[in-house]
Symmetry: C2
């Protein structure tokens, strides 16, 4: 499933990119006056292979939930059971992600890829549990490579089902106490930056815990001898397994499937950014199909986006995860694309164009 | 009508602001993790006088169209007839504002407050023409004070009708070739900044035209002897009449009416920012009811927002006007408020709160 997905990914079509760019310039607005949104629409045309590209509605949010062995090292002030409590909150419709999804008309699917407890069945819960949480990444590999590939295929499978049910935009979400620690380790590994540059305070930690967290990330990279994960797909998978989480692997698969079927993927925060680095190492063309929904307050997120060459749409100091930043961006992405369908050209509207 | 509207405006309720802040902290998310959006929701609660405040849907966009005598001075490369051509484009549904409004479910009303041509009747066109464009602000007052008040009352009247028809959020829009020149003059007048700091390139001008435009703004302030427009409402009206446009006056009235009936107003770009400075000089409490939809590429807009103490939600280098930036922000404003209605508290959801 993983190999088939990779084989189906194509980069943006350069001819369609040029066509979309030219179309933007004929619309009744000063050239470039939609700023970053023009680029979003042009990129999605290139990714879709057709200009204008389809308006990416409806959206489907998948919240990949998992636990982390490194939690035992005291990197977060939140108890691990909050992961399972928040899964219940999502399924009851009581979390911020539910409110935002309702606002933008997106569906919400929760995926257990590695929560450290058995979860009762629920209509919006998909069970792909790989294990009851990862191992402690500071002591050795968080997962085996086989587990990482299974989590990745879980993400592919979820994306495939959502697209089959009619989703035309995939939004990444995540839940997992301590997952910013694994994200920092992945970002450091895949961008080559120092752990101190890319480790943040997650949902809120004091100075002492922060220093400890940086040390844990540093230990994870050293213990697992992570070096150049972008050198080859197998190195990328080894690094993912060594310092990632089940949700990172699953989100990487979710991205790859979107790219394979040319359905745009809106990335949420630092967990998605870290997962996108993995996807890019597996196939750089996958990123042509991604939009950076927002930039979170985590420093590793900015580093990941810079490495991927993506500019975030929402920049409002969100640091919640769950897919909240991605959901907020969805109406803007749709608006950007809708312009290419609905807006008149200077010729058709009889509007005088500025003399060049 | 103007006096009645001013008399009805109340500032945010401090008790409700505190209540909304406390409610935010009980919701199942780390404190502060929604960043700027928490502040938006809290401010709207204070403005509404109730926590949680109503979700501000549906939105109504009003595009105030007018021409500017200063166009004759060569401050824009676009011919003046583009104003009337774009009005036709809005009414035909072919402009970017229409596409964005369709995306967010907002109605579009076009208001002629001073277009330099007679316009045919149309269902979505409201006629409040004060004159066929303003006089050249660099040679003397752009309007009489009486004209400015009539334009302001046109804005009040449009807002009143939209709210009566069910709008629960007002979005400002504008169309008028050369209106960034008048905006720069208003921003310089009301913030005390130098014209060179607050004059921009509008929809796109070369270096020579830019220098000329700064000189025109400087001449407007000198010729009209604009000094301290925030000193009193009458000084504010005199400055508005001297260097503003009919759409600035109308948008100021539109804001005041929203504030008077506690319906939030989402401000678009630099034209709205300049108009909001006028509204704030007439009654500072009006700004408690405003949300800055976006920050445009015009330098005067950032200066206006800083003066008003507003933080923009969208910052994507848009420089189109029409209400496009305000419309993009609308789903985020709704999402911010919806959180206060829909999201569970730690207690109700049985989620363990982080130890403080």
């Amino acid at each position: 499933m993983f190999a088939e997905t990779l084989a189906a990914i194509h980069p943006a079509d350069p001819g369609v990119l040029a066509e979309a760019r030219a179309h933007q310039d004929r619309l009744t607005k000063p050239r470039g006056s939609l700023g970053v949104l023009e680029e979003v629409a042009v990129r999605l045309a290139g990714a879709a292979g057709v200009s204008p590209p389809p308006v990416p509605e409806p959206a489907a949010l998948a919240i990949f939930a998992a636990d982390h062995g490194v939690h035992a090292r005291g990197v977060s002030p939140w108890p691990q059971e909050v992961t399972v409590q928040m899964v219940a909150n999502f399924l009851a419709g009581g979390a911020v992600a539910n409110a935002f999804a309702a606002q933008v008309g997106a569906s919400v699917t929760v995926v257990d890829v590695g929560v450290a407890a058995d979860l009762p069945d629920a209509p919006d819960l998909v069970k792909h549990k790989i294990a009851y949480g990862t191992a402690d990444l500071s002591q050795g590999p968080a997962m085996t490579v086989d587990q990482a590939v299974r989590a990745l295929e879980a993400g592919i499978s979820v994306a495939r089902d959502l697209v089959a049910e009619g989703a035309r935009c995939l939004v990444t979400g995540d839940m997992g106490i301590a997952n910013t620690t694994a994200s920092a380790a992945l970002v450091a590994a895949f961008t080559g930056r120092d752990p101190a540059e890319v480790t943040g305070r997650g949902t809120g930690i004091d100075d002492g815990t922060y220093e400890h967290k940086v040390g844990i990330v540093r230990a994870a990279l050293r213990t697992n001898e992570v070096r150049d994960p972008s050198a080859s797909p197998s190195e990328a998978l080894r690094a993912l397994a060594a310092v990632g989480g089940f949700e990172h692997a699953a989100i990487a698969g979710f991205i790859l499937y979107g790219a394979a079927v040319r359905v745009p993927v809106i990335l949420d925060g630092v967990i998605a950014g870290a997962a996108a680095l993995v996807a890019a190492a597996l196939d750089p063309a996958a990123i042509d199909h991604c939009v950076a929904g927002h930039r979170s307050a985590e420093p590793g997120h900015a580093a990941a986006l810079a490495h991927l060459g993506l500019r975030p749409l929402v920049d409002l100091e969100l640091r919640l995860g769950e897919g909240t930043g991605g959901l907020l961006a969805h109406p803007m992405v749709c608006a950007a694309v809708r312009v290419m369908h609905d807006v008149a050209t200077f010729d058709s509207a009889g509007v005088t164009e500025k003399p060049v």
